[in-house]
Amino acid sequence: MFSTLAPHLVNGLALGLLFALLALGFMLIIGLMETINLAHGSFFALGAYVALTMAAPPLAPEALGGYAGWPIAVRYALALIVAPVVVGVSGMVLELALRRTYGKDPLYGLLLTFGAALVIEEAIRLTWGSQERVLPLPPMLQGPVPFGDVFFAKYRFYAAGAAALAIVLLWLLIERTSIGARIKAGAYDSELVRALGINLPRLRLLVFALGIALAAFAGIVMAPIWGIRPQVGVDAVVPAFLIIVLGGVGSFWGAVLAGLLVGIVVGLTGAFAGDWAIVSMYILFIAVVTFRARGLFGRKSVLDV
């Protein structure tokens, strides 16, 4: 029995880390800025497309110093680092536009980010087309890994490892650096932080860009699993939102644990009741919020880390 269950539990944990990664940037922006960024999924997709362009550039072999001929491992590594930065910077534009909505009815921010999501998705369609695309991977990330009598894709463990690394690094940033301290302080009492001479608008800009960069990073990591197409962002933003609410809005570890919980539930139902796999996360969500409306670790902000 355990040998039958074991691969599915491992798969569920890996999936859970990926779900947590998906929600990380979303959680950061809600936690500090109390803005529901409905364009999160679109930046997720944009990250995958920018990485695709860097990993498989539509360039002549001799262009840009022969960049297209560089080893795929180098191009992929560059894409993994540079694409989130590029997308994060583009996310700053949205934050600048969002400033006019701060302190107003949350619907303004919601509608603005929803509009931005539509614009980004259409821009992707115009730039890269509607066809499904494939992100090329270095050979070292491809191939099977035996686990008992079954095989996993090696990439799955790499993706789960990348997600775990991102989670730990973000936690360290918030908990162990002075920037993190300022972020938390800003979330707790923005007026006091401003009075202390900290440039709060710049801090918000930084946090928003970081949240967007995390969405883009998740898009790159998930691309070989979910594929790349303009509307992939919708597939990302719904579970991200669900995980944030399930874990408790603003709670770092709540999001991580909710991601793991959703991953295990989806992984197990996928294996043993496949037709329930997608709906299972919604059933779990309903079950939890019915008894605990603020989610598993529902508190106000990232201060509660």
Binding site: Q131, F241, G270, A271
Partner: protein, 439 residues
Amino acid sequence: MSEETRSNPGRRRLLKLTALSAATTGLYGVAPFFGPWQHHHAWAQTAQNKPIVIGLTMDASGQYAASGQMERLGAMMAIREFNEKGGVLGRPIEAIHIDTETTPATGSRVAERMVTRNEAAFLVGAVHSGVANAISQVAQKRGVIFLNTNSSSPTEAGANCHRTKFVWDGNGANFSAAIIKNAIRVSGKNWVLLTNDYVWGHDTSKATRALVEANGGRIIGEVLVPQNTRDFTSYLLRVQQMKPDVVAAAIGGDDQKAMRQQVIQAKLHQNIAWINNQQDWPDVYGLGAEEIFGVFGTTWYWRLDLPGVKEFVAKYQKVYPGVAIRVPGNVYYNGYMATRELLNAVEKAGTTNNIAVIKVLENLKVSAKDRMQNYDAYMNPTTHQMQQTIYMASFNDKPAEKDDIYKILSAVPPAEVEDKAALTACKLESYADTPVYEP
């Protein structure tokens, strides 16, 4: 061509989550008022030059967006050719398109709207069998002829057949019949079914199960996969635990692309034989060599060595120079053939009267040359399904040119792959019970 777009279902779900659905209903999805007609007799007789409107009920979003786009190009090519000849019955042909979103409820709503608001004379297009079934119910209620171009659930020409519906693609039973006997002999007796959890997947699996068992094979398990699945790991782990010789996959659209990539990542194609019941060209175009594993069925290939094929391909490339898919495939072909034969039938009937056109289509016979297939094709008057050549194919490891990715293994004549179950399952409405419609 006029075009109307709608918001996609994902967004509406999202808006519901954020309690904005009421507001956005006003912005995006105001339901039109239809009816309450009880009888749908002829509209006012048309003026001589009034355009014949063809409603293209094709997906532009969702699981079958890519296929929806290709069948639309095929239908538009046929319409273009007829318009260049002066139209049909002296009337120009106009096409309208509304996204059916790979969603049955949307298909139903779009069909209603096209008939009642746009006065569509005919409805053309479907890839998802649930959508096709929904459209065909509206079409039958109104008496409008509907061409199911590309959805291939056996029920479409079986239990869900209608007098006004004509099915142009091969179905799951046809493809299974073409492949299973040989696959059991070559690959083994223990089969697992990997099934998309909707009507086409279920019906195709049912047909596969019956044929496997009839040929001495054994179904040792079935794994259901919800639509819009992107991560197949759970399902593929479960399949491995069942230790099959053969996996018969009935997974369609973008889901299938994701599945193929993940099978390759775990190298599961190396120790298990894979059969994909039907391979639609947009789902495989652009995939890497290794990802096109296994054996699969199709109704047409762009490098068939038959008269007219080269010209057909050249015309596609000339008329649609910017399309990412550089050569036409089976989905485009079905969209084109269905529309062309419909317009031929109208011309032959000398009227747009639905009953007259239905009778012409029921007696349709198309030579192999005109179909650009190996064998003559004909419309089965009992089921309204086009009986045609079925091709078995695999990846071509010795391509003659770019995009030559299929190796055609065999061409099976229609009589050998006939869906016999459909003959008894299909109960067409009588002519008298079909509302007269003459746009």
